[in-house]
Symmetry: D2
Subunit: 372 residues, 4 copies
């Protein structure tokens, strides 16, 4: 079983595909599911699900997409798609769900295996799959995400908020360009953008409660082509992390207020494109306790002190059915597995794949056994 799961992961690792374009991945998954004797169902363009028995109540979810990164690992199963890489471990997620499905199918325990596209790109694939009915009849859902900051052998989760709401925004400040020697004939968007970015700090430092974790970061700025010409426009791009819907709405409103207010004050126009991200991922407490309990003998459970500021569209499922998400440790310094998610040198300690799959089967059994 262990080799089979590792083999799945490696074959998937070689065919990474971008969000929404997981065509080969879907074909591969469907082939493997059919080999197990299951009847995979396509959902949307690239999603798949399959039931290991009749009327399953528990779903296991894996995400399918990869990232536009050039793999730098020198391994036999290196990505064969130039410029694309499974640098977020979705190959491992799929392999574990395939493994769990295989074992559950053998034991004739019903579960729904959900292979979801497009986790990496807003608006995410989860919402659409739910609309297309993948949760019909389902009462509980679980998901795992590999975590290179956590030692192999550990599993981490937390009751309540576990991951943040992660929004994106894109701002264009349109001033008036002109020669750098005559700034008074321009409306200098570089100066104005500097004032805006400086003023945005006040949202976190002055406008939100110290007990409401909020992050507003600008990741990219660009404007102008020449040292002596004041450009017409500057663009900058940022991310917003919050843990609660009302805080998120307040922060979003303040971001619009500050950007429009400062730009207007200095005679510029702001165009803001704000992309609402996934809602915060809120675990159901009982299901977190289930993960803790079922991990015994497989992993050491760690309660996270505070949420991760990352985002996950698994959060949508938890708005509909009970369930929980967990981070599975894959760090292994001896093997050199220390690179973060989204690194071109990201790797997975494959020793976790089998126990990970076993954990997933236990989670299913827990609720099917109880016949609740």
């Amino acid at each position: 079983m262990k080799d089979r799961i590792i083999n799945w992961r490696r074959e998937l690792h070689q065919i990474p595909e971008p969000s929404g374009k997981e065509f080969r991945t879907k074909e591969y998954i469907m082939g493997q599911l059919k080999n197990m004797g299951l009847s995979p169902v396509e959902v949307g363009e690239t999603g798949v699900y399959a039931d290991t028995g009749k009327n399953p109540k528990v779903a296991l979810r894996a995400d399918m997409d990869a990232l536009p990164i050039d793999e730098e690992n020198d391994i036999p199963y290196r990505s064969t798609h130039p410029g694309m890489m499974h640098a977020c471990g979705h190959d491992a997620h799929m392999a574990m769900v395939l493994g769990a499905g295989y074992m559950l199918a053998e034991e004739k325990i019903p579960a729904r295996l959900i292979f979801q596209p497009s986790e990496e790109t807003i608006p995410g694939g989860a919402k659409k799959l739910i609309e297309l009915g993948v949760l019909d009849g389902i009462e509980r859902i679980f998901g795992l995400h590999v975590d290179p900051t956590l030692e192999r052998g550990k599993i981490a989760s937390r009751k309540g908020v576990m991951m943040a709401c992660s929004d994106e925004f894109e701002v264009e400040i349109k001033g008036k360009g002109g020669h750098g020697a005559y700034p008074h004939k321009t409306r200098d968007p570089i100066f104005i953008s500097s004032l805006i970015i400086t003023s945005l700090q006040g949202i976190v430092s002055r406008n939100v409660s110290p007990f409401s974790p909020v992050v507003i970061s600008i990741g990219k700025i660009e404007g102008g082509n020449a040292f002596n010409i004041i450009p017409e426009r500057v663009k900058f791009y940022g991310t917003v992390r919050t843990l609660k819907p009302d805080v998120k709405e307040f922060v979003k409103e303040r971001i619009f207020g500050v950007i429009n207010g400062i730009a207007g004050t200095h005679g510029a126009e702001a165009r803001i494109e704000y992309r609402d991200g996934y809602p915060a991922l809120v675990n159901h407490p009982d299901e977190v306790r289930t993960i803790e309990e079922e991990s015994r003998g497989l992993f050491e459970y760690v309660e996270m002190e505070h949420p991760s500021m990352g985002g996950e569209d698994f959060s949508y499922y938890l708005e509909h059915v009970k369930g929980a998400f967990a981070f599975l440790g894959i760090r292994n310094e001896e093997k050199g597995i220390v690179y973060p998610l989204h690194s071109p040198r990201f790797e997975v300690d494959e020793e976790v794949l089998l126990p990970g799959a076993v954990l997933l089967t236990r989670l299913v059994r827990r609720y099917e056994d109880k016949k609740d």
Copy 2:
């Protein structure tokens, strides 16, 4: 004579070359000078000068280089060098000096015709030509620059400072990159750059006399690749305009102080590359009066209310010999000649070329006649 000058200008217009690479231009100029029976001398790689008589005391200077701009004018004598264009009128400057040289040679009045490379790019060609001796024996020098903001028929200059000292700088702020969700693990160079650009405003508003015109403009900023990753570095590029050497040194020192101080305060490093530009162009008062007097009948003379904030390496010549520089109006709305210098649609009203050349001959005659 008028057609000859216009023809020169048009032929030069078709072969624009970048600063320091004016090889075809040099060949063309030397050929024309030889046609007049003169003996052009090469100076440096692409400079040329020629005397119209023995022991000239007066020099006329034209600059030779063009700009990396794609010409958008639809004219028969359009640039034949893709991506290069005489968008700063140096073709007209050369044609007028050739024309003046032709007339002076015929009249056997001695003058030195200087064709100088690389006016557009710091450190400029003037300094080198002076080191190579083009001012040996010279007592006065004059130059004209076409000006599309001034109506055809007018000529403008001013006693004392006429053009600014124009420096450039390039700044790299090296903070510490990281994920946008965890700003406390980074030293955010976009935030730090915003504080720096905001603080730089204080130099002009608080540190220099209101009677010392100073401009500090940032023309370009760039940093980061993703909305959610705080980058390691931000770069920005600026220009500094001043009119006096001591003010320039003070402002330069403050720019270093503010950038290094703010970066250091926030744990970042600043790498500053500051390129000292041409000194301010300071006309000699008597020679300005000469231009005013000799323009009668040719152009309406206008005393500039204040200096231009542009820069010119003609300033170096005026540090060695007496002389003056003037702006020659070429604007003509009827003909659609309204585009600014460095525009891909810049044009010259060629009607000014002959009177411009005549003015240059008068300036020479004034000082040769006087035998001062």
Copy 3:
């Protein structure tokens, strides 16, 4: 008993005294303790303690000082000290500890009653009393603080951090004064202070984890005497709230770094007087559970969602012995008891005083009974 406690509170309410000057209060407390047959011991200039039996293991603490506020309540027991008022409820705290002492003495249950001066003013009285031995032989300590934001009938506390570390700072920016028409001859401390206050926001927004609650607020700024004269100096005053010692040290260091860095960048000097406040108040979990359990029948216990950002020198006791602190609800809209702590209209719903005293006796009994 109820009337007795209310009477104590009202008599104390009439003689509010400033931090460190609680002389009449001490005399009053000692008199009452003697009336109960106890032998009060003076500690320091104005502190008192008394044991209700031999070798007590549990201490109950009340704070004694009042605030420089003019009482605006129209009540028979109004403050008789003009400009001073028990606007923080310390009168109620003392009355409840007196009441508990009375009952414990009658029942011959040993407890130490600690009356501590100077809670309102850094460095606080707790530290000194501990040095003078008030905790000798003590194993557990409890304290209550009335809370006008909490309904009467409720009691609130939380495991771990319950109140913040609260530091103060005072900054003088010394620039160079001069006439407002000639800013270049000055080093404008108002402009420099504005840059500093703007930059300080970055500590919270960029330098600390979103999961480390931190507040930096400037409460007062002053500088200059005339609209047209740039002053020599500006002073501003602020407060810093943190929950963990390492975060506090980091934030303190950054405050010094930002202030000195920005001032130095602009040629000014900064003088910073930073007063370390009380450490964060960290409750011991078991003793919080004890409060929760012993409150049954008296109050509805509420677990606080997050710490208060206020400070308390009760924190020092908890660094030496186990124990817990709690907020006692006194809000009563019907009676108009809605004004916040430190308001000139602050009042206490006296109905809570007897059950509060009873709770204190229960807490003592819990540990004396157990003979742990």
Copy 4:
């Protein structure tokens, strides 16, 4: 004559009075004018004028008010009005005009002697006196102002703009106060004021031409009473200096725009009280030349390189009739006369008073002689 003028100055020095309250000064002046046989006319409450002959065409103006400063000079003729001092030299101005009047009256040369109240306080006395007719029949006006930065023996003026337009403003930022530990419940006016003052720098650095001298300085800021309470309001006070009416209007508009814009962006209200000051003082070129010519033998004339950024309501007279203003050097390091205007140790080298008065008589004679 010299003693008489010095005596006038010293007697006036002893009775300094605030703007608009120059009652004793008026009485004194009227008495002296009557002693000369003239018929002084009261204008407004404290103004005076007198003609030295019939139908004068030339006016000489002296200002009358003193400053709320405690004189620190130890001199026999020290101010007898505690807290008031002639620290701006208006005593000297009056003495010189009295002296000139005396000499002109003796020679029967007609001139109008204008003694104007309230030069130090906006809106100034000049405007009102003009409305009341002091310029009726007048064609030229002159005034002198003593200058402790200029050596005794020199006189300075310049054609065109000689002194600035000097406006004042007062700003109240009304946010929302609250406890410093809970900034998210406030709208912090100290933070908002810092952003405003920082942003105001952009007006000078980005919005006005480098050739338009403009100063915006904040001289005073105040807000808050406690280090830990965010106040409701902050007030700050500033001055604006410009040289041209259109620039002044533009800058004023931008100041309103920036303050209202930034305050509004952050949820605060701004109340701005803007007091328009005297217009820029613009000398008539021919009359400046007259001062230069008539100074020969009395003073060394110096052409000012650029205007003073100070203000003067003499500017109003020059909007109605031709004339000029000049600075009279009174600095004398040997005598220790080095303190600036408005200093409590300001003094005047009285040796300049007689030649100053003589110059005034020459200026009158020039135009009366010409009978233009």
